[in-house]
Symmetry: C2
Subunit: 229 residues, 2 copies
């Protein structure tokens, strides 16, 4: 019974996501997901700083409670909308209808890039299409090497992985080949960007990937939605 | 509609949890929760090593996929049952009926302590009573200071917090007073154990807390279930 109901909720979500995709016809939308505390907000701070001169951006931030992340990101000058899911019973993900409402609060005219910072959760957000063009997962090296094997759906539905906090590697027992092997095992060939959002190290390839996707969307070559099956 | 259905699922879960509580009349059950990669398994390895001489333990480990954690924990000599929630559609938490089945695979005779290592997720597991006597949340210092404010339900339903990976503090910009303030803000007076599961630093107060709770359960003074509201 439970499974049937969940399927119905996901079907409704997919319909809303398709509507969002029409609303986002002229803006590249990135769905950024991760565990709590893996550094999504710091990565976005650095990303917005670096691409501001060439790319006009906006952000939707999801959290169960607080506006901490929106407060940090609004310093970038980009319009930021905070969604608190405790208004919907403490939801563990952002659903398409929530994104539709939040995006309605942003003037999307002239916006090239809309980043959605999802609720910190490596499980549930992977199941909910929000009408995005691309998905990226942030994994911090402090979380260990085996998370892609343990949470395969997240790594399967994403188009890129950002391996964050590499500045801490000298202080960890970390097997870089193991994590890259796990990622390749669940999503062969997916690009992995090894960065320190704190120091800014390694950001260029990530920014180039983002720029290419934004340019492809502008040129009308955006990808279709990935089946999360 | 969605909310009503979720309520029904939680009601069924509460009934199953009450049945589990009868099955666990003579064993102290700890539900250990956290984000992915905060160090639950390493904490359990150290905990089992240290209390093995005096406390007979068993473990149920929940993951979406892999038996990595069970493989690590079974080296302790304690009986370990791995639950993979991908058999139930990739569930983001352990529900009471899953625990009932898993516990059925363990001979509980003479077991003093049953630890349930929940799925790595700081949101959903907080909503599901599994018939435990106590709940603890592990938060690693690499996850930042504000997680208790952002994920308040988890910290509200728990009886203790373990602040892990303190060996990394010299390499982080971390405000210890801030995290303690956030924890106290959502759950005033909850004990916080600052440890490094990797080095073994700070484990004694955590082990003492556990020993006291096990002894209280033996003496028939176990606490009632906490309302998760």
């Amino acid at each position: 019974m439970e499974i049937k109901v969940v399927r119905k909720v996901l079907d409704v979500n997919d319909t809303m996501a398709a509507q969002n995709r029409q609303m986002f016809a002229d803006v590249f939308v990135l769905n950024l997901m991760s565990s709590p505390g893996s550094g999504k907000t710091t990565l976005l701070e650095r990303t917005l700083e670096r691409i501001a001169p060439e790319v006009k951006s906006a952000v939707i931030v999801g959290d169960i409670c607080t506006s901490n992340d929106a407060d940090r990101l609004s310093k970038s000058g980009a319009p930021v909308v905070q969604v608190n899911t405790d208004e919907f019973g403490g939801d563990c993900h952002l659903a398409a209808h929530v994104i539709a409402t939040a995006a309605g609060d942003i003037d999307l005219t002239g916006i090239d890039l809309l980043i959605v910072e999802n609720v910190g959760n490596l499980v549930c957000p992977a199941e909910f299409d929000i009408g995005e063009d691309a998905r990226a997962v942030v994994l911090s090296v402090t979380e260990g090497e085996d998370k892609p094997a343990k949470y395969p759906l997240m790594f399967r539905v994403c188009d890129a992985a950002v391996l964050n906090k590499i500045d801490l590697l000298p202080h960890l027992d970390y097997d870089r080949d193991a994590v890259l092997g796990h990622i390749d095992g669940v999503h062969p060939g997916m690009p992995v960007f090894e960065v320190s959002a704190r120091t800014g190290d390694g950001l260029d390839p990530w920014l180039d990937w983002l720029r290419e996707r934004i340019a492809a969307k502008r040129a009308g070559k955006g990808p279709a939605a990935v089946d999360r099956g």
